[in-house]
């Protein structure tokens, strides 16, 4: 097993865990953050699979802008008190 395969397995496990966190977390701010983490890990996966441009655009759009739009929506609802728990 090369180090790339080992890294792929580890990153895949963390991608699944963070995706579960997006679905299962009760607090909506943590949900957005877990989504951000998942996108960063997918970008790392693209980088290992030697697709740097796919990785950079994954990082810019899914890790950068989508969480911001979600968080702005939450912030405009005053911290999302109505949603938590």
């Amino acid at each position: 097993m090369t180090w790339e395969e080992i890294a792929q397995i580890i990153i895949s496990i963390f991608i699944i865990l963070s995706a579960l966190a997006v679905a299962e977390t009760k607090k909506v701010v943590r949900m957005a953050l877990a989504f951000c983490v998942m996108s960063i890990l997918i970008a790392a996966m693209f980088l290992i699979l030697s697709a740097p441009y796919a990785a950079t655009f994954q990082l810019a759009i899914y890790a950068g802008f989508i969480p911001i739009i979600i968080l702005v929506a939450i912030a405009l609802m005053r911290g999302g008190e109505g949603i938590e728990d």
């Binding site: 953050l33 951000c36 441009y53 990082l59 810019a60 969480p67 968080l71």
Partner: protein, 320 residues
Amino acid sequence: MITVYVIIASILFLLLSMLLEWVDRKVYAHVQHRVGPFVTGYHGILQPLADFLKLMNKEEVIVEGSDEFLLHAMPILSLSLVLFALLFIPITSIEGILSLRGDLIIILAVSVIIHVLYIVTGLSQPSFFASVGAARWGQLLVSFEVPLLLSVASAALVANSITLSDIVSFQISNFPIGFFAPLSLLATLFSSLAKLEKTPFSIPDAETEIAGGWLVEISGRRLAIFRIVTDAKYLLLSSLVVTLFLGGPSGPVLPGLEPIMYTLWFLIKLIIVAMILSYIRGIVARYRIDQAIRLFWFRITPLAALNLVVLIVLSTIGVI
């Protein structure tokens, strides 16, 4: 070996960002006919370090009802992210410590993710002021990122690459991109001011309106780390302006002394850009949030787009 480089470079970057904070405070004070920090060290040069150490020793207060895990994680995460982005900046040669294809987009994405963490910090505090600050960060963010991306795109178009080492080597062999993209340079400076929440755009943490905004309940060690993150972001954005538009570390070089001369030229340009940003901060007053958004969408975005269109036309007919 690269680990040693990264640790040494991180410490140097933190010290350099403290130096930039001193430059910022000195320029701001002199614009207002004050002397600024003067006691600690030569003309107060150690004052940012002294402030940092003082805040590290203060008591930390966590308000009831706040999300403790996120409040502990956010300062460390944002500090590591901004240091990671700084490792890509080419200073001593045409390549940074880390370098890979498309690293310009990585720097931009990381600088956006830091603001995601800021908004999360604001939203994990129970205070109403913090929620308002976080909402303002988000609204400001979607307006200042667009001109920043357009102007970075025009720099990448002139150099025909989205890799920083290619952009720098293009500028060394030809000319600084700022000659061809002056409007993009201007737009980048304004976006940097907004990213650093300096005075015309200090809307998310406006002390007199919302009592510190997204930082209102942050104290002690976490406040110290957030302040040094702001300083490191100041370093990151100034060096991004230098790298993209002003030629990076290029300049007249004695043969055999390239690393030293490159670093010297880079620092000179960096301090000039930082002084310009501080000077703008000193001479203007704060915008309201709607005025800032209108400024970015109706004034600065068209300027950056105009420069991009002109460059596209010029490169189509083969001038550059």
